[in-house]
């Protein structure tokens, strides 16, 4: 009898590797999911409200209705992701039972636990988690996250936080690589991560799992900026379906991610996209309404 292994970290992290160089789009209906697939999205994130609406509506944001998630699963052939609240392991169990391909334990929803994240090793479904810096990323990986995304500030259309977080991650990795070995123990303690994972990151010279950018991407140039800063791919939330012409913009962002080093192509796909999402400057948002600092 040959051993068949499912739910291993290799197949979880490997799935994220297949998404690289691609765009994952937030969708709230089956129709939007089909538009995203048609535009060349590598996956969709099924949710009831895009972050811009969650921000505008206020209140408690929770996991989406399973009916809506199943409708989206049935409507497309590409992978479907869905969000659970931070620490809400029962929402995660529900999403796993629905057959979603990836669970996003997301700060965009209202956290269910202000101390602990979901222990993701217990699941067969892989998880993606947000981070603002390398320490946060490695803590999530220790808990079993098989993919990371920099948080940015979701629902703003303002790229500044996404840039800040991606630069923080890349700077920390560069620092690690030039750091003498005998300083690693203290660095691990400062970042509140295991020495083993820190050493592995140092050897690889990159995040040990796939790292996408998220939170504020609204244009093809935004997406290419994040790719040039070292992202493996991008999540676009409100930026597509809160814009004037979602199908065209979605397709343009997909092309900008593939050709992120080719300004002529980025210029070409940026033409006549219509209105971008209106957006709000992150600086104008009161500190207690920012999503990214909700977990660490």
């Amino acid at each position: 009898m040959v051993d068949v292994l499912t739910g291993t970290f290799t197949v979880k992290a490997g799935h994220a590797q297949m998404l690289k160089g691609g765009v994952i789009m937030d969708v709230v209906t089956a129709e939007q999911a089909q538009i995203a697939e048609e535009a060349g999205a590598v996956a969709v994130m099924a949710l009831e409200r895009v972050p811009a609406d969650i921000r505008a509506d206020g209140g408690v944001a929770r996991m989406s209705d399973p009916t809506m998630i199943l409708q989206i699963i049935d409507s497309v052939s590409i992978p479907v992701m869905a969000k659970c609240r931070i620490g809400h392991f029962v929402e995660a169990q529900v999403l796993e039972s629905l057959g979603v391909d990836y669970v996003d334990e997301s700060e965009v929803l209202t956290p269910a636990d202000e101390t602990h994240h979901v222990w993701k090793h217990d699941f067969k479904v892989p998880f993606v988690c947000g981070c603002r810096d390398l320490g946060e990323a490695l803590r999530r990986i220790s808990e079993g996250a098989a993919m990371i995304r920099t948080k940015g500030e979701a629902g703003t259309g303002d790229i500044v936080e996404a840039v800040r977080h991606m630069r923080a991650v890349q700077d920390a990795i560069r620092k690690l690589q030039t750091m003498p070995e005998d300083e690693l123990v203290v660095e691990a303690r400062n970042l509140a991560v295991s020495l083993e994972l820190l050493t592995k990151t140092r050897e690889l010279g990159r995040m040990p799992v796939v790292n996408f950018a998220a939170g504020g991407i609204a244009t093809p140039a935004d997406a290419a900026l994040m790719m040039q800063l070292g992202a493996d791919g991008v999540f676009v939330g409100s930026g597509i379906f809160k814009s004037g012409n979602p199908a065209t913009r979605a397709h343009a962002i997909v092309q900008a991610v593939t050709h992120y080093n080719n300004p002529e192509i980025i210029a070409e796909v940026s033409k006549n996209l219509g209105e971008a999402m209106v957006g709000i400057s992150t600086r104008s948002i009161p500190q207690d309404q920012l999503l990214a600092p909700r977990s660490s």
Binding site: L5, T10, V11, G14, M18, K20, G21, G22, S77, H259
Partner: protein, 197 residues
């Protein structure tokens, strides 16, 4: 020997890393002119719908098909295998129709059904190959002249060769095992010495 890896989307960096372990510097291919002068091409894992759309949009279909006709080696892994097929069980994506095989996408179910398994591969008669299947396709029709290199215990083919063309349901590029990449390079070297071998 000049090898290209289609870099539209997917795990092309993993293929490039394994090739470099074998001493081969490869070229990322996003535009048709980047195919010029190549002896072989790898179509990596990724999302086949995305690959299909961008290959059409950036006019890569015809030049890749020409490479195959001119006896250059072309190897597709997972999504790449879907692109190599003659036909697939759904209308979308549109394959390149390079090999005489029929392919079913997502043949094993959703991500929670993705799996790892050791496979005996006829060409490597030593130790089994550790194969990683991620939302993987499977071959449901094998045409004449297509050789099955590996199959699952239930008999479904998951690795095939047709002359200068290769396709695998699984991802050798996610392992440290270089045998499949070496096999591809050997095939490419043979084709360069004289087509049809």
């Amino acid at each position: 020997m000049k090898i290209g890896v289609l870099a539209i989307q997917g795990d092309f960096i993993e293929h490039i890393a394994l090739l470099s372990k074998l001493g081969v510097i490869s070229r990322q291919v996003r535009l048709p002119e980047q195919l010029e002068g190549l002896d072989g091409l790898i179509i990596p894992g990724g999302e086949s719908t995305t690959l299909s759309r961008l290959m059409s949009m950036y006019h890569l279909r015809q030049p890749v098909a020409q490479m195959a006709q001119r006896h250059k080696t072309v190897w597709g892994t997972c999504a790449g295998m879907i692109m190599m097929a003659h036909e697939i069980t759904e209308e979308d994506p549109i394959p390149l129709q390079l090999m005489d095989i029929g392919v079913q996408r997502n043949a094993f179910g959703r991500q929670i059904d993705s799996f790892e398994q050791d496979l005996d591969i006829a060409e490597f008669n030593t130790t089994p190959f550790h194969a990683i299947f991620i939302r993987a396709p499977v071959i449901i029709r094998v045409g004449e002249g297509v050789k099955v290199l590996a199959e699952l215990p239930d008999g479904r083919p998951v690795a095939v060769r047709q002359g200068n063309l290769l396709a695998t349901s699984f991802h050798p590029e996610l392992t440290r095992d270089t045998r499949f990449h070496q096999y591809f390079l050997d095939l490419t070297a043979n084709q360069a010495n004289g087509p049809g071998q």
